[in-house]
Structure formats: C-alpha cells, structure tokens
Subunit: 234 residues, 2 copies
Amino acid sequence: MSETCINCGHSLCARRVPIFSKLDGKEIESVVTLIRRKHFDKGENLFFEGGELQGLIIINRGRAKAYINTPEGKEQILHIFFPGDFFGEKSLFVDKKTEYNVKAVEPVDICMISKKDFQELIKKYPGITSKILQELVNRIDRLESMIENIGAKSVDSRINAVLLEFAQKSLDENQIDSAAQFELPLNREGIANYIGVTRETVSRKLNLLQEEGVIQMIGNKKIKILDKNRLKSE
Amino acid sequence: MSETCINCGHSLCARRVPIFSKLDGKEIESVVTLIRRKHFDKGENLFFEGGELQGLIIINRGRAKAYINTPEGKEQILHIFFPGDFFGEKSLFVDKKTEYNVKAVEPVDICMISKKDFQELIKKYPGITSKILQELVNRIDRLESMIENIGAKSVDSRINAVLLEFAQKSLDENQIDSAAQFELPLNREGIANYIGVTRETVSRKLNLLQEEGVIQMIGNKKIKILDKNRLKSE
DNA sequence: ATAAAACTGTGATTCAAATCATGATTTCTA
DNA sequence: TAGAAATCATGATTTGAATCACAGTTTTAT
C-alpha cells in the first residue's frame, strides 16, 4: 500500500492537519505510514456518543456535523467539521467518553490514527502536544462565542453570524470580499439546529436577507454574500 | 513572608488545584513559593477582556463570574468560578487574548502564578501539562452541555439544570440528597444572564418551582432542593 | 425516467417569554 | 440606624418566534 493518501491527490493528508505542521518532510512521512483511510456516505455516522473512539480522526474530504440529541427530541449541532478539521483528540488524553454524535452531511473521507500509534507519536515528537493544546483552546473560543450568540443575541444576529462563519470556513478573505459563492454545509433544518431556532425561521430570515440585498441564494445550497458589512453589524 | 497561603488557613492553596494534585509534598511547597496573593472586593474586576493576563489565577475564596458584554448591551455569563477553580491557563500556552471579563460576585481571594514561573514549573514537572489538557477537556464538555441547554432545551429545563449545577458546585452528594441549603452564586439577573433569559422569567420560574414543592427558597440567596429527581427529569 | 422521499416556502394561529410598569424587599453605606 | 440604592415580585401587554398546515420544489433511488 502506498504511503501517500490517495484521496488527497498527490499531497500527504497529514500535512493538512495543524497539529503536524511543525514536523519536517521525513517526519511527516513516518506519520503517514500510521494512517488508515475510510469512507462514509452521506448520512452515515462516523461516531456515536458514548462509543469508543478509535483514535484521532481527520476529515480529508466532505463535511460532517457533531450533534447531540436532547431528551426532548431536538438536535443541537455543536461543530461543523470541514476538511482539515479533526476530532477524537479528547480520547487520546483523557479517559472520558465523548457525548456527541458525528454524521457525514455529504460523502466524507477520513484519515485515522489509532490511539496507540498516536501516543507513540507524541513521545517521539512532543511538540505535537502543544499543537493539541492550541487546538483545544481554539475550540473553547469557538464554543464561548457560540454561547454568546445563542444565549444573548437576536435571531437576526445569529443568522448573520452563522453565514459569516460558513463563508470564512469555505472561502478565503479575498473571495468573500468579491462576493464569491459557496456551498452551505447544512440544509435549512441543520442551520436551525445549529443556532437554536426552527427551520421555518431560517427560511424566512434568509429570504428577508435576500430581499434586502445582503445575500443572494443560488438554488438552496449555494449562496453569495453581497454585503459583508451589513452581516457584521447588528 | 510565609510560604503557606494564609488565606486557606493552614493548608496550601496549591494543593486544592487539580493541576498540582500529582505533585508530592516537597514539590508542592516549591510551587507555593511562586504564589502571590491578592484580594478583590465584591464587584471588582479580576480581569478585563483583551487585557494581558498575568498568569494562572486560582480562586481561593469567594466566587467570580466570567462574562461577555454583547454589542446589544446584554451580558452573557460563560463560567462561574468557585474556590479551587482557576483561569488564565490559556495565556500560558497560546499567544491569544482572552475575550471575556472576570468579576468578583462576592469578596474574592486569589492565588497567582506568573506566566514565567509557570513555564519553568512545566519544564520541571511535565505531568502538569497533561493535567491542564484534562482541565481544558472538562471545560469543553461543560461548554458543550451549556450550548445544548441554551440552544435546544426549554426555559424550564435550563432553570432546572442551573440549580443542579450550582448545588453540585456548592455541596457534596450527600448534602444534596438530604436537601441541604446552599447559597446561589448569582442574583436573579445573573442567573438570567447565564441561561439566556430575563430576570423576570427567573423570578417567575423559581416561584413556580417553590409552589410545586421542588425547591425551597430561604430569603433570596439561599435555596434548598427538596426534590432532586423532579429537577433532573423534563 | 419516474415515483418516492426529503426538503423548502409561506400563510394563519398560538404561545411563551420579553417588555413595560410599579411597588415591595433587601442590602448597602454614610 | 436611616436613607439610598439595588434587588426582587408580579400584573398587564406586546411581540417574535414556534407551531400548524399544506403546497411547491428538489433530491434520491430504482
């Protein structure tokens, strides 16, 4: 079996992961030998809450959502994982179950490093630990700003924030400024479950934004941000 | 100056902090020599968003709230720090500002270790790093469950959850089961800003819970949980 | 290609919590 | 300890989003 990750074309998928970014070419190749690949169809679960996580999972293609099902039957989405994002880092360090599910929202390819292999990796390259720390801190920041959004901001502001977030995850700064189109990672109901409203409200608010000329929808999945500033204010 | 932290009576305050719990007596004493103490009156800010955090801050007595002021003028509380809790760990590892404020909700004594001292400490006792990792993971868990609460649960459920949380932070399991009273760390408005509702709603819901015999209020600050199970369900 | 299934838009109605208003308590503080 | 300031309770009203209902559209699978 080749040591390169065929799904990323000719690049090494490990190089796309921030935690390995400090390693040099030869070191990264040794990481790649540890990687196993797997594919998930749209709608398949990569992981169920309470389950044993096999190791570190890196999203290589496609997007996935992490979500909780509440006792009342609602779904709360906690993260959207884009290519290059990873999860499962928790089980590598702490003996604690992860309480959310992860589901592919479109066809997804992942790279996987087993817990055992990863722990040996850390011994060999201790710098990885500080990268993990950094990533955990970033997640805390994102979760805190999500709480600010859901807990203290109006529904309009939440919609605005989520559109900007998805744009930033999908495009680079120049593309956003030139109103490039991008694909929403979630359908209306998904967006609703991410920002704590209903599907109908998302529909109505998006249409309002379009009427106001702030955004332009291309079909249901694609969108252009015409006026970034009006999304930022309010 | 004595090496013991006078504010904790005869115990060493460092021993109360989970991240130092693996150290033996002699090691902990060397940590204590690095500690500086400070007092804050009720209402004083321990820290302002965007400011330079001096190092690791351990709450030794009293409680403090971490909060964000939204552009719309609302306050969203993110954490309640109880004695033994700490913050500022972020600035020790990552070159990134903290975006929230921390304010004493009652008279607070803190212990503080400077960034520089702490970094030397880590070199000497690398085990501390894994403790920090663990604590970060715990925070992520708490934030995620907070998002589930605020985003997907009814107001009733949120009130229930916050009462249980405060009880668990204030009492041990036996005391909760025997309906011991404890002091709320926040006033009505504070609770409201923690769970994303208004002060009036908190008033009304608490009164309802009392009428139903689930809780008993002693004045405004103290409370007894009479029926833990009814708080848990729903 | 076509039928089924999933998703979306939109009006009508309901409802729970926000807001507004005010008086009663409690807690500071001078 | 008296007066001021902060906090709390509670009724009346408004409001914004949830819910309900259903038709139109898009996607998926055979």
